[in-house]
Amino acid sequence: MSPLIPNPDPIPLPAPAGLLEALLVFTLFLHLLPMSLLMGGGTLTVISELIGRRDERHRKLAQATARLLPILVAFTITMGVAPLLFLQVVYGPLFFSSSILMAWPWLSIIGMMLLGYYGYYWHSFQFERLGRRAVWVTLASTALFTIIGLLFTSNMVLMLTPARWQAIYKAGRSGLQWNVAEPTVFPRFLHMFVASLALSGLGIAMLGAVKARADTAFGAWVRQYGLGWFVAATWVQFAVGLWFLVSLPPSIRGLFVGGGTVETGLLIVALALAVISLLTIQRWLGLGTATILGTVALMVVIRHRLRAAYLASEFDPSRLAVQSQTAVFALFVLILLCGIAAIAWMVWKFAQAPSPRPE
C-alpha cells in the first residue's frame, strides 16, 4: 500500500460502502448522459455552424442544437453533483490528495465552467446578432468544456495511481500538476469524447423525429445526419476503446481479456449490445437507443470495476467503518421520490402546453 494515502476519516461512513458505491455508479450514469450530449453536442454544433455558412439545413440544425446547450450545462452540473458527493465520501483520501496535487488546473474548472456557460447563453440569446461570429463563441465554450472533461479524466486517473504522487509532491506544493501526460489519460479521455459524439449523434437523430412533425423533409435529413454520426463514432470507438484497453497496466488489462470472469463478461455483453445497436438503429431507433444505453450503463459498471482493479492493493472501501444513518437515508429516498415526481409534473405541464412559437 502506498504510504501516502491518507488515513480514512475517523467518523464512520453513514451507510455501507456498497450502497454508497451503487449510488455513485447510478448517478454517474445519469450525469454522463447530459455530459455527453453537452460535449459532443457542442462539437457537432460548431461543425454544423461552419457548414451552415453555405448550407441552410446545417444552419437550422445548429440553431436548434445551440439553444439546447445552456440547458444541457445545467443538467450536467446538477447531475454531476451527486456522483462527486458519493465519490468524495467513499474515496476521499484518494480524491482529495490527487485534487490537491493538481489544485490549480482542478480549480480552474470552475472558471472555465462559468465562462463556457455564459458563452452558450450569449450564443443562444444573440444568435442572429452574432451572425458569422457566432461559431467562435460556440467553439470557445465547447473547447472550455472539453478541457474540463480532460481534467476530470486526468484527476480520476491520478486518484487511482498513488504511486505517482510522491514524485509530483516533491516537485513542489504549488498544485500545478496536470497529469495529462500519464499514458492512460489521453486514450481514456478520447474514449469518453468519441462516446459523446456517438450519443450526440443519436440525440440529433431524436431531434430529427421532433422536427419531422413540422417539416418532414428537414426532420428526415436531421435524423439521417445524426445517425451518421452515431454509426461512424461507434465504429471508431471500437478502435479507441481497444487503444485504451492496451494502454492499461498489463495486470489490470488482463482482467478484461479473460483474466476476470465478471470483468470480461461485462465487457463482452457491453460490446454485443453496441453491435446490436449498430445493426438495428436505422430501422428501429427505439431499440437501437435502448441497447446503446445498455452499453453505456454497463460501461459505467466496468469503469467502477476498473477503479477497483487499480486500487486492489491500495484501498478497499468495504473495509471502512460504517455506522448507518438509516432514518436520514430513508428521508433522502422519500424526498428523492417527491423530487422526481415534482420534476416529472413540471416537465409534463410544460410539454403539454402549446408552444408559443410555431416552428
Binding site: A15, L85, S174, V347, P354
Partner: protein, 454 residues
C-alpha cells in the same frame, strides 16, 4: 497533515475560499429570496391587471436566470471545490456526518433548477396558475436547500451535543441552526429587494419605474426589524470565546463585526429614505451603490462568522489546521512528523532542522498563514530571536487564543522556531520546493517509518 498541502502564494487558502464564498453568498441568498420576489411580483401584475408590470417581471426573470442559474450554481460548486483543496480534512468530516443531508440538498437543488427553467421558458406557454405554481415550487425548494446548507454550516461553529452523542440530528439541529436560518431567510428577502431595485431602476418608463422601485424597496424593510433580534439570538448561542473575539477581544474581528452592523444600518436608512419614500427620484447608480453596500455587508459578516470559529474549523473537534483533538493526543505521544502522512522526514537531526521546520510549517501553519503574503510569517516573526519564537510556540494558545496550540515534541518545536527565525536571517531560508533541499525522498522516509513501526 493527513493530506497534501497546497500552497497558494500571497493570498493563502482562507482568502481564496472567502473570495468565492462571499460572491456565492451574495448571489445564492438572492436565488432564494428572488424566487419569492418573482412570484409575488407576477401575482401583483395579474391582480392589478397591469401588462407593463408583467413585462418587467419577465425581464427580471431573465436577469434572474443569468445571475442565479449560472453564477449562483457554478460558484456554489466552486466553494465545494475550494474547501476540498484547502481544508480536505474538514470537508471530509462534513461529508461523513452529513452525506444524506447533502444528498437531500442535491434533490432540492435539482428541483429548483428544473423549476427555474420551466418558469423562465414557460412564460407565454403555461397558463397563469401553473406558471405561478412553478414559481412557488422554485422558491420553496430553493429555501429548503438553504435550510439544508444552513444546518451543515452552523454545525461548524456550534456542533453542540454532537460532540458527545455523534448523532446526525444533534449535528443538524445544533444550537445556532434556527437563529441562523431566521437571519439568512431575512437576508434572502432583503437581497431580493436589493436586486429588484437594480432591475426596477433600469425601467425606462417613469411611472412604472417609481411603482416597481417602491415595491422592491419594501422588501428591505422587514429585515431591519428582524435582523437585530435574530442577530442577538444567534450571538447568545455561539461559544463564549467566539463572542469575546467579536466584541473587543480581537480588534480586527471587532472592527469587521462593527462594520457589519453599521453598513447594514446605512443600507436600511438609505433604502427607507431613498427608494421607499421617494421612488420617483431613484436611479440606476443609486441602485448599484446600494447593491455594493449589500455586497460589503455580506463580505464582512461572512468573514466575521468564519473568524470567530478560530482556533477551530469545527468547534471543539478539529482545529483550523485540520488536526483533530484525537490526532492532537497522538501527536503528543509520538510527535507530529510520525502522525503526519505528507512529510519528507520523520526524524529531527542537527543537520535537517530546517527541513523539519518547513514540514511543520506546512502541516500546522500553512492553512492560515503564507510566508510573504496574507498573514505572512516572515513579517510576523520579524525581529524575533529564535529563543523568543520558541517561547511563543510553547504558549501559542495562551498568547493568541485564536490560534491552535503547537503540537509536537520539543525537538520538533525548536526546529520550527529555527526555520521561522531563518526567514529573516541573512542565510536564504528554504522556501523553494523541497526537491531542491537535501532531503531523503518521501518514500524512504515513510518506509523507514513503517519499518520502525513494525
Amino acid at each position: 497533515m493527513n493530506y497534501p498541502v497546497w500552497e497558494i502564494p500571497q493570498i493563502g487558502g482562507g482568502m481564496l475560499i472567502g473570495l468565492i464564498a462571499i460572491l456565492h453568498v451574495f448571489v445564492s441568498h438572492f436565488a432564494v429570496g428572488g424566487g419569492l420576489y418573482l412570484v409575488l411580483a407576477e401575482r401583483k401584475a395579474y391582480r392589478e391587471n397591469d401588462p407593463a408590470v408583467l413585462e418587467y417581471v419577465k425581464g427580471h426573470s431573465l436577469f434572474f436566470v443569468l445571475v442565479v442559474l449560472v453564477f449562483g450554481a457554478v460558484s456554489g460548486v466552486g466553494i465545494w471545490w475550494s474547501i476540498g483543496l484547502v481544508s480536505p480534512a474538514a470537508t471530509s468530516t462534513l461529508l461523513h456526518v452529513f452525506v444524506w443531508a447533502w444528498a437531500i440538498e442535491w434533490v432540492f437543488f435539482a428541483v429548483e433548477i428544473a423549476a427555474a427553467f420551466v418558469y423562465y421558458y414557460g412564460w407565454d406557454r403555461l397558463d397563469r396558475r401553473t406558471h405561478l405554481t412553478i414559481g412557488w415550487i422554485y422558491f420553496i425548494t430553493a429555501w429548503l436547500s438553504l435550510f439544508m446548507i444552513n444546518g451543515i454550516l452552523t454545525f461548524m461553529l456550534t456542533p453542540g451535543r454532537w460532540l458527545t452523542t455523534r448523532e446526525f440530528w444533534h449535528a443538524f439541529f445544533n444550537p445556532t441552526a434556527i437563529p441562523s436560518l431566521i437571519i439568512r431567510t431575512m437576508v434572502c428577502i432583503a437581497l431580493a429587494g436589493l436586486y429588484g431595485l437594480v432591475t426596477a431602476a433600469a425601467i425606462p418608463e417613469r411611472k412604472l419605474r417609481a411603482k416597481m422601485v417602491r415595491f422592491a424597496a419594501t422588501w428591505l424593510l422587514p429585515a431591519s426589524l428582524v435582523l437585530p433580534l435574530g442577530g442577538a439570538w444567534y450571538i447568545s448561542r455561539i461559544p463564549r470565546f467566539a463572542r469575546e473575539i467579536s466584541m473587543g477581544g480581537s480588534p480586527a474581528v471587532t472592527i469587521f463585526a462593527g462594520l457589519s452592523i453599521v453598513l447594514s444600518a446605512i443600507l436600511f436608512v438609505f433604502a427607507f429614505f431613498g427608494p421607499f419614500q421617494r421612488p420617483q427620484h431613484f436611479n440606476l447608480p443609486f441602485a448599484f451603490m446600494l447593491a455594493l453596500i449589500g455586497l460589503s455587508v455580506t463580505g464582512v459578516t461572512e468573514w466575521v462568522r468564519e473568524a470567530v470559529r478560530k482556533p477551530y474549523i469545527i468547534y471543539g473537534y478539529m482545529y483550523s489546521n485540520g488536526i483533530t483533538k484525537r490526532e492532537q493526543e497522538a501527536i503528543g505521544r509520538d510527535g507530529a512528523l510520525w502522525v503526519a502522512k505528507w512529510v519528507t522526514t520523520r526524524e529531527v537531526r542537527e543537520d535537517n532542522r530546517r527541513e523539519v521546520g518547513r514540514n511543520l510549517y506546512e502541516i500546522q501553519c500553512a492553512s492560515c498563514h503564507t510566508i510573504d503574503g496574507f498573514n505572512g510569517m516572515r513579517f510576523a516573526v520579524k525581529g524575533w530571536r529564535e529563543e523568543f519564537i520558541d517561547f511563543q510556540l510553547q504558549h501559542l494558545s495562551e498568547l493568541k487564543g485564536f490560534m491552535p496550540p503547537f503540537m509536537g515534541t520539543d525537538l520538533e518545536r525548536r526546529a520550527l522556531a529555527a526555520w521561522l527565525a531563518d526567514l529573516n536571517s541573512r542565510v536564504p531560508p528554504i522556501t523553494e520546493p523541497l526537491a531542491k533541499a537535501t532531503a531523503p525522498p518521501l518514500a524512504m522516509a515513510t518506509s523507514e517509518a513503517r519499518m520502525a513501526e513494525q
